[in-house]
């Protein structure tokens, strides 16, 4: 087919609009709307004694001040626990506005609505809240000690506890010829999208309808949640995700308090209301992730093959658990990576702390699991004095063992079964690309100049494309324009391009004619959302199936028009033609005309479609079991997730005096099945690696012992610049997924996953001592060096 675009590095269709300032993000909407601002708790744990609004009431332009006492009906109930789980024994959620207690700095207490944001913020400053300050629980150690409780009803601070066993790992470790143990820790970080959250709501009093825009990763989820909270029929609520300036996980949570309160206020006041989050609000009142503490016992044979792996870890879930325990569930399962330990035991405890809540951030529990597994691999290699890649290779699941059932249940409730992957080939490619076998020569050359370098390696497997389903809609207009819609949202991934590529190929039309809408419940009301590297897999396949329906119908109608067998037809560049006889053809847009018999003519195409112009007069204009229009809708719902994988290697130099880590090379081998657009996949990898570098070397959430986040700004939170991000050398291996029609796997999160693991490996290689905590700053590394020297 001449128009083939699947697999081509086609430029992103959305970019001309986005890079020329034509994007329409949440704050670009509703300039005349009333503004909401929030008074947020300055304390990590406190009881609210009194809220005094006396001084605030006289401010001109103030519309309303709302506290918990003012909330009505279901708005006053706790926010939903979105993902319950049997292991989540003590799930707790907050209220839209704090009800007597605040449990983290940043929790919303008062909502102010005013003519504009300046006034609203001024009013917030004039409201006086008296607190009885309580002892906060900060950090995993304090949560475990449980001298104080985050929730009085959960005195041990334990929200969830889970033990999973495959074989008898403890007995296998005891009987193993060699055993070692490791204690590991990973610090908090956060998604930090360029655009924070935001909500804009319009209440139509006449029709009793609510239309809201949210900077969300799930417009269908927000719609359903808000309809439920406001006690509105679903049909009376529409939710649209406009251009969204990054999500990375934080915007999959819903409903955020503001997503309930802003529409509630809009209806109450019968005026449009808008709130857009500022940066400090995002730091203290959205969400973080990553903090986990792991203890590992491992037993292995003389070759380094793991006989028993026993992992016990603690997960800091913050003050509430609205998103359930997805993160530790993913950590506990995805920790295994490409390896097949003979037995495995994992126990986790999820703990409440008086800090902002914890929900998935790109990678979602995998970076911690991969860190644990890869540190273990390096420790085994060191113990046996074997090359680190060799130990890994000896533990790999082999290609002929696919599909491989690991005996666990994955986060989607389905068996953890890898569908495909070729780990030995990936490792061979990585070693070749990075020059693994020649590294010692490079090390000596640098050493001769007094420079210290190290190389690290880390592997991961990532479950992508989790269910339950997504849908796709494809419609051919009589102008030749192809409308495509899917319910999940876009936050910059390039969906407008890749979905158009799929449709262009399936339908045989120019990609320029394809227009994709995402995240608009008016266009496609059934959807789950954009998370877990699932959009291309789920919506991509659904859209492909819908396009195939359209193609079938088009060929059937064209076959009737051209009086030939549809099987002899093909569609090329928007023209349906007889294979081998291109003169016999009909434009797809004309087929669209034929598909929809009309009574009234409004243009030339419509004239051709009136019931007096088309059709077989012996049949009804729309035959039985058919619908008017050239369009199709279908859904894709997989039995289980599809597992992508990858391996990263990094070569670093560590400065002798400052212990600063410089990245010399960063190499990625990535296998996400068939690639729709290699440029977009590489872009996803680049962004992921940047966040991996950030999480390994720079970013952390500096909570002090009283639960104050001390670095809640981009002055102090070290998000790396482009200058800190290396040139990324990426190699693609394409092992198609057998699970879906397009053979694709997810790619969105991949790049970030092995970040901490690969840098720890490289730093350890350069310095010679164990690295057990990430991220690591130059001063921490310098201090480690000093203590190692002292102890030596």
């Amino acid at each position: 087919m001449t128009t083939k675009s699947f697999g081509e590095p086609i430029l992103r269709k959305e970019d001309p609009r986005l890079v020329s300032g034509q994007g329409r993000y949440l704050d670009d909407l509703g300039h005349d709307a009333l503004a909401a601002a929030f008074l947020r708790s300055p304390h990590a744990s406190a009881r609210i004694l009194e809220i005094d609004v006396t001084d605030a009431l006289d401010v001109p332009g103030l519309i309303g001040i709302y506290t918990y006492e003012d909330l009505e009906g279901r708005v006053a109930e706790p926010l939903p626990l979105l993902i319950p789980h049997p292991a989540l024994l003590n799930g707790r959620t907050g209220y839209p506005l704090a009800n007597e207690f605040v449990r983290h700095v940043g929790e919303a207490i008062v909502m102010v609505i005013a003519e504009d944001r300046y006034i609203a913020e001024d009013v917030v400053e004039l409201i006086k809240v008296s607190y009885e300050v309580l002892q906060p629980v900060v950090g995993i150690e304090n949560a475990k000690a449980a001298h104080h409780a985050v929730h009085a009803s959960v005195p041990d601070n334990v929200s969830a506890h889970s033990v999973k066993e495959v074989g008898d790992a403890r007995a296998m470790i005891n009987a193993a010829p060699h055993k070692i143990s490791l204690d590991l820790f990973i610090e908090r970080s956060a998604c930090s999208p360029l655009e924070g959250k935001g909500v804009y709501a319009i209440w139509e009093e006449d029709s009793q309808e609510l239309r809201l825009w949210s900077s969300t990763q799930t417009s269908t989820g927000v719609r359903a949640a808000v309809a439920a909270k406001l006690d509105l029929p679903l049909q009376k609520v529409e939710c649209i995700a406009p251009d969204v300036g990054g999500g990375f996980g934080v915007k999959i949570m819903h409903p955020w308090p503001e997503e309930v309160l802003v529409p509630w206020a809009a209806r109450k006041l019968n005026r449009p209301v808008k709130w857009s989050e500022d940066r400090r609000e995002h730091f203290i009142s959205s969400a973080h992730e990553r903090a986990q503490e792991h203890h590992i016992e491992v037993g292995f044979d003389d070759e380094g093959r793991i006989l028993g792996l026993d992992v016990t870890f603690f997960h800091d879930n913050g003050a509430y658990t609205p998103y359930g325990i997805i993160i530790p569930l993913i950590t506990s399962t995805q920790l295994l990576g490409p390896y097949k330990p003979a037995s495995y035991r994992v126990e986790f405890t999820s703990l409440f702390t008086n800090t902002v809540l914890v929900i998935p951030y790109r990678g979602a529990g995998r970076p911690q699991g991969v860190f644990a597994m890869e540190r273990t691999m390096d420790a085994i290699a060191k113990y046996l004095n074997v090359d680190r890649t060799v130990v890994r290779e000896r533990n790999f699941i082999q290609p002929d063992e696919m599909p491989y059932d690991l005996g666990l249940i994955f986060q989607d409730g389905r068996p953890l079964e890898y569908d495909s992957g070729n780990f030995p080939a990936s490792m061979a490619m990585l070693k070749e690309m990075v020059g693994w076998d020649d590294f010692e020569t490079m090390r000596s050359e640098y050493a001769a100049q007094g420079r210290k370098i190290g190389i690290g390696v880390a592997c991961y497997v990532e479950g992508t494309g989790v269910g339950p389903y997504e849908g796709g809609f494809v419609q051919v207009e009589t102008s030749g324009r192809i409308n495509v819609a899917t319910g999940l949202t876009s936050q910059g991934q390039g969906h407008q391009t890749v979905f158009a590529q799929i449709v262009a190929d399936e339908l045989g039309v120019p990609i320029e004619d394809v227009f994709v809408t995402t995240g608009d419940t008016r266009r496609f009301p059934y959807a789950v959302g954009t998370f877990a590297s699932r959009a291309a897999v789920m919506s991509g396949n659904a859209i492909a199936l819908a396009a195939r329906q359209v193609r079938d119908k088009a060929l059937r109608l064209a076959g009737e028009a051209l009086e030939c067998d549809p099987q002899d037809l093909e569609i090329v560049e928007g023209i349906v033609r007889v294979k081998g006889d291109h003169a016999k053809s009909i434009a797809l847009k004309t087929v669209a005309v034929l598909s929809n018999p009309l009574r009234y003519a409004f243009d030339e195409s419509a004239k051709a479609a009136t019931q007096f112009a088309v059709g077989d007069t012996s049949k009804p204009p729309v035959p039985e079991d058919e619908e008017p229009g050239l369009e199709g809708k279908d859904y894709y719902s997989p039995m289980s997730s599809t597992f992508a994988n990858g391996m990263h290697a990094v070569i670093i130099e560590i400065l002798p005096e400052t212990a600063e880590v410089k990245i010399l090379r960063y190499v990625v081998v990535h296998d996400c099945g068939r690639v729709i657009n290699p440029m977009i996949v590489e872009g996803q990898i680049h962004g992921g690696v940047a966040q991996g570098v950030a999480g390994a070397l720079y970013e952390r959430m500096a909570y002090d012992e009283s639960g104050q986040l001390q670095n809640a700004s981009f002055m102090d939170f070290l998000m790396p610049y482009a200058t800190e991000i290396p040139i990324i050398e990426a190699g693609h291996l394409e092992t198609p997924s057998p699970l879906n029609p397009l053979g694709i796997k997810g790619a969105g999160e991949a790049g970030v996953i092995p970040g901490s693991a690969v840098f720890a490996s490289a730093i350890e290689d350069a310095e010679g001592f164990d690295i057990r905590r990430m991220p690591i700053s130059p001063s921490e590394l310098w201090e480690l060096r000093r203590t190692m020297k002292e102890n030596a």
Binding site: P42, H43, V105, E125, K128, V133, R280, F283, I284, D704, S706, Q708, L709, Q710, N711, A712, S713, M715, D716
Partner: protein, 197 residues
């Protein structure tokens, strides 16, 4: 957050202790202090205009004095809140005789919240020490007879005493008697953290 510091003054510990317990002195020496009001036997409300970098605002604070052991030591328990944030602190102040006069040391254990806690934290420690030094220098000058700024005392019908700062060339009356048994001290160390000039 813990801050420990020291300052050397040219006057005896008892003179320094008295000054640090004299609200009128404090009012004119604490940078940014606008007003003081007695709210109980040993509690006072005060208003301070302060800021770190671009985060400025007016704070309303409550100060309570405890563990008085003249002229050796006392503890200041204070809390303040305003647009930019909240502060809660215990400050233990110790005075000792020295060759210069008085060696003063302070240990503050504070929780700084709100915007100031998240955004200004990086500079707080430095700013607080600088402000404390400014404050002690002002106390030192005051004890040496500098009266370029003085306080005005007001007592309303309910008997509530308040003091406001007013630049004057007139000498100011000591107000110690109005605060019998009470003393306000070193609020500058505390709320002064929030001051950058």
């Amino acid at each position: 957050m813990k801050i420990i510091g020291s300052y050397s003054l040219d006057h005896s510990p008892s003179a320094v202790f008295a000054a640090l317990n004299d609200p009128a002195v404090l009012l004119v020496t604490i940078p940014g202090c606008q007003a003081l009001e007695q709210t109980g036997p040993s509690t006072y409300a005060m208003t301070i205009t302060a800021g770190v970098a671009s985060i400025k605002g007016t704070y309303n604070g409550v100060v309570e004095l405890a563990d008085q052991n003249a002229p050796h030591s006392f503890t200041l328990k204070a809390s303040g809140s305003g647009g930019p944030g909240t502060v809660q602190a215990d400050v233990k102040v110790t005075l000792a005789q020295s060759a210069e006069g008085c060696a003063l040391t302070y240990e503050a254990d504070a929780v700084v919240g709100g915007v100031i806690g998240g955004v200004g934290q990086r500079v707080l420690s430095g700013v607080s020490k600088k402000t404390a030094s400014e404050f002690f220098a002002a106390v030192n000058r005051h004890l040496a007879g500098d009266r370029s700024t003085a306080a005005v005392v007001m007592q309303d019908e309910a008997g509530v005493v308040s003091i406001r700062k007013e630049a004057t060339t007139q000498g100011a009356t000591s107000l110690t008697s109005l605060f019998a048994g009470g003393a306000i001290a070193l609020v500058g160390v505390l709320l002064g953290w929030l001051i950058s000039r």
